[in-house]
């Protein structure tokens, strides 16, 4: 188990370094740069000579390899540098924007899991054919709902018309209700689909028929035998949905005017704020690696057959 962990950790570091390096060079290839974008702004009315001065002052003309090494060493030391656009240390931007996004993402994901589980159980329990059909169709409908549109509809209905929750200046948690819902709907859909399908598949397996024959109820079989087996594929997908979660958070944050990583990313992309993007890429890669590691470690707990023999190298 230890060797397995170390191996995975080494892999994770490699992934992080690759993500850092790849993003660094990809960002350099883009036309223009943050300093050009910031100072070429006509509202500043700067002459080319003045802009050239600014470039020199910011060290933007140093050779690429030196900039790369410099940035890498700083990152390893935990120094994410300055955002050119806002003039604030990246670490400060992250401490203000990371917690709200984490809260939104975790709550959105939990709600999505509950919704998906609910839909799957209902689909598994319902024996009326047309009703089952509805439960089966619901996830595909949810997938095709654009997050952007859903957010606006929820705001118009629940905030502006019914006046249940304010969107402007809401309380800390009240302001999260609609965004969480907006985020959860498109995330729950693929989860529910996988769950429903694997429940259907597991239910055709012989052991289910045996349990049934022994006189277990439909719900009993579903709960005790099927669910546990069906949850594994969903867990894999759940780990992969992290990327979806970040994209959804971006749109949700824009629609609701929330601060967060999504909104920060969008601004940084638009302004080619390299230091900020670099930090976001590394953080996202870290989160992705950690989540997938957790998922892998969870498998053996759910399915004892996957437990590794002691000392296995994998």
């Amino acid at each position: 188990m230890h060797r397995y962990l170390y191996g995975r950790l080494g892999q994770a570091l490699l992934v992080l370094w690759a993500a850092f390096t790849l993003s660094f060079f990809l960002l350099q290839v883009l036309p223009g740069d943050a300093i050009l974008i910031k100072f070429q702004n006509p509202d500043m009315g700067l002459s080319p000579a003045q802009i050239a001065d600014m470039r020199a002052v910011y060290g933007a003309d140093a050779p690429l390899w030196r900039q790369y090494l410099h940035t890498l060493v700083d990152f390893i030391r935990g120094d994410f540098g300055y955002s050119v656009q806002t003039g604030v240390p990246v670490a400060q931007l992250l401490t203000t924007n990371l917690p709200p996004t984490l809260r939104l993402a975790v709550c959105g994901f939990l709600l999505a899991a509950i919704l998906a589980g609910g839909m799957a159980l209902l689909a598994g329990l319902t024996s009326v054919r047309w009703l089952r059909g509805i439960w089966h169709a619901l996830p595909s409908m949810f997938i095709s709902v654009p997050t952007f549109w859903l957010g606006i509809v929820l705001i118009q209905v629940f905030s502006f018309r019914l006046k249940w929750v304010p969107v402007i200046n809401p309380g800390e948690w009240a302001g999260l209700i609609l965004p969480i819902l907006t985020l959860a709907v498109p995330i729950c859909a693929p989860l529910a689909q996988i769950l429903i399908r694997s429940i259907d598949e597991v239910q055709t397996l012989p052991f289910v028929a045996v349990a049934r024959a022994k006189g277990a109820s439909r719900a009993g079989v579903l709960w005790r035998h099927v669910a546990r087996n069906a949850v594994l594929p969903a867990l894999t997908i759940a780990g992969l949905l992290f990327g979806e979660l970040i994209a959804g958070a971006l749109i949700t944050e824009t629609v609701f005017g929330l601060s967060g990583l999504g909104q920060l990313t969008q601004q940084a992309v638009n302004n080619q704020d390299v230091a900020v993007l670099q930090a976001i890429v590394v953080i996202s890669a870290t989160a992705f690696v950690v989540i997938n590691l957790l998922v892998d470690l969870l498998y053996p707990l759910l399915d004892p057959r996957l437990k590794m023999p002691a000392g296995a190298a994998l």
Binding site: N41, V88, I155, T254, G257
Partner: protein, 523 residues
Amino acid sequence: MKRPGRGKRAGKGGTLIYLEQQAHTNLYPPAGGFYPNGGILNQITDKLTYQNPKTLAIEPWIAESWTSNDDKTQYTFKIRPGVTFSDGKPLDAAAVAKNFDTFGLGNKQLHLPVSEVINNYDHSEVIDPLTVKFYFKKSSPGFLQGTSTIGSGLVSPATLAQNFDALGDARHIIGSGPFVVSNETLGREVDLRVRDDYRWGPKTLAQQGRANLDGIKFIITPEDSVRIGALLAGQADFIRQVQAYDEKQAEGQHFIIYAAPTRGVNDGISFRPENPLVADVRVRQALLHATDAGQIVNTLFSPHYPRATSVIAAPAAGYINLADKLTYDPQLAAQLLDQAGWKPGTDGIRQKEGHSLVLSVYESPPQPQNKEVLQLVSQQWSKVGARLNILAGDAGSKTADSLDPLKTPANVVEVGRADPDVIKSQFYPTNRDALLQKGGLSSKVQNFSDDKLNSLLVAISAEVDGQKRLALAGEAQKYLLDQAYVIPIFEEPQVFAGAPYLKGVSFEAVGRPAFYGAWLDKH
């Protein structure tokens, strides 16, 4: 809906909720041209002089009086006594000198750039604690008006001692205005608190002493429909950037639409004659006459967006009506293109020497419905055999490509300033350089420059005689349209909407709101 701080002082006071479309960028006062910046700076900084938004006359404010020599190379200002910045430092002659030395010359060490409204600045001299004198290398007749603009907001010496980068944080901008920044969540919210000891607003205003409101909360709400919806639902009191199609709904519910004119270069399209497609004046004229500004205004906008009748807006200083040069005349356009040798091709697009008459332009998101405007222009041009390709692109590609006349033969223009200098700001090579001239912003331009235009523009910025200066502004407008360097489309307002119970909002000369005299009535 209950909100903290609302309705505390019955009738007056309370905290105003202001929904802004975009987060502010750097708040160094000369960067105040960007509307989200100006909206904040206008509440927290005072200016040396006050430009009356109705008469455009320059009136006293922090300066009680001023004199200048005949050729406008020296200006002397008498400062009002007893004014302090919110950090307690006096706003005296030394502070004013420090402000304009920085705005006029920049500060390389601290990365602070030069202000675009101050031309030919040389140095300052503190005569006595309340008298300051400014010297210019050449005549600078626009300077007096320049001291009243948003970019000339006076800030504490402590602010000017900071690095440019630090001024992205609103809390670092220490002004002497009626409000003070009390809190900021970067990219999300800026909170202002009233300054109780404020008593130096412009003397000609009805409002005197402390502002009525207790505070202002700027909340960034990027989504158009959420801003207008929140206002109508009573969750906000004032919003910036209202789309023309939302105006009716708001007015129908007795909300107030404020369309403040920006009094500068009209929203339109300029050409980069370095590009061979538009190097021929006949082609530019043809495209000008192929553009139906009336249709654009009627289709996309409301009566708050007047159709352009010159390069600058009708309420701008020095405006002359040149509507007869801006006629929509597709037949004339076709003739001009024939004469210029552009023959209709098989796909309806005109051809000449193997090239198609297809121009590209980057949309400009700050301009109202810019994409829709450009799409309509493209449709109109296609009737005479030309096409406009509208590019979106990220800020990086846009900034880089916009400097290359071969990639972007056309460009969206617009700038507000209530002084004839605004024409120079937009077109002069070392200012915004809308036409991209040799020696201007772009190193990619090899040939194009227009000496006649440039000497006219320099003359506007240096002519001491007020009447002659306006005449020069008129000549520049005529010349720009005769050369068809620019196609003016509409006079761009800044459109805001406010709740019916919000009273006393005013606007400075180019459309930034001022909440000094505002209050939230009982509701």
